[in-house]
């Protein structure tokens, strides 16, 4: 049983490291900020989660497992927030080429917000 768990842990560790490498390659090769933030959030978070699962299976102790769960939760909470803030800041400071977007809801929202403000001021 313990051998099975050890082998599973090893598989999880290798898979996690591989995903970290995928994140690194994506970060280097993708062409603009939004594509890079995609590479930096999705494979990276899954990679860390897999490595944490691997460590949990390897150590097999109750309290440590809960701390690892906490670390995973932190990753899943903080990575989207950070990526959202960074890409939004990039968008608002003109680092995203408008032609590269398929769907662009933020521009419409910003325009709608400006119109609403104008209407309020007029009326």
């Amino acid at each position: 049983m313990s051998t099975v768990l050890d082998v599973l842990a090893a598989a999880f560790l290798v898979a996690g490291s591989g995903l970290a490498l995928a994140a690194g390659v994506g970060l280097l090769r993708f062409r603009d900020l939004l594509a890079r933030s995609h590479a930096a959030t999705k494979p990276q978070v899954l990679g860390v989660l897999l490595m944490l699962v691997g460590l949990g299976l390897w150590l097999r102790s109750g309290p440590v497992t809960w701390v690892l769960v906490l670390v995973g939760l932190f990753q899943m909470v903080t990575a989207p927030v950070a990526a959202h803030l960074v890409t939004r800041a990039g968008y608002r400071t003109g680092k995203v080429a408008p032609g590269s977007l398929v769907v662009d809801e933020l521009t419409e929202d910003l325009r709608a917000a400006v119109h609403r403000e104008d209407d309020e001021r007029a009326g």
Binding site: D6, T78, R88
Partner: protein, 130 residues
């Protein structure tokens, strides 16, 4: 397990090297923030490997700290992101820094020479006496 650790270590080192290249190239501050975030995640992976290799459980709280601290950095950078002119966001070479420094010193000297004596402890002029 040693083989597994070795493979994981090589993969993580490669990933870290690629991220470092992106960190150096930029081209904007936000690209660097993203790269730093990824680097922190790779660091977490490295700490996991340390915990696996030594079976130490006291490394585990460090993972929680790293997961939280990396996020604060990129949020702060995003908060103060500004419009950067083209070509501004790269790391300057040694010669370019020296040139900028020379220009700055020359400008300071020119300013000092242009300001006249009276603002620097000269005699009072046009004072109403009595």
């Amino acid at each position: 397990m040693t083989v597994v650790l070795l493979v994981c270590g090589v993969l993580l080192t490669l990933a870290a090297a690629l991220v470092l290249v992106r960190l150096e190239r930029g081209p904007t501050m936000l690209d660097r923030a993203i790269a730093l975030d990824t680097f922190t995640a790779i660091l977490i992976g490295a700490f996991v490997l340390v915990a696996v290799a030594t079976r130490r459980t006291d490394v585990v709280p460090t993972l929680a700290v790293l997961a939280l601290v990396g996020f604060v950095g990129s949020v702060t950078i995003a908060r103060f992101a500004a419009v950067e002119p083209e070509g501004e966001g790269r790391i300057l070479s040694r010669e370019e820094v020296a040139e900028l420094e020379r220009d700055r010193l020359a400008m300071e000297d020119a300013e000092l020479a242009a300001s006249d004596e009276e603002h620097h402890g000269g005699p009072a002029q046009g004072e109403v006496l009595g």
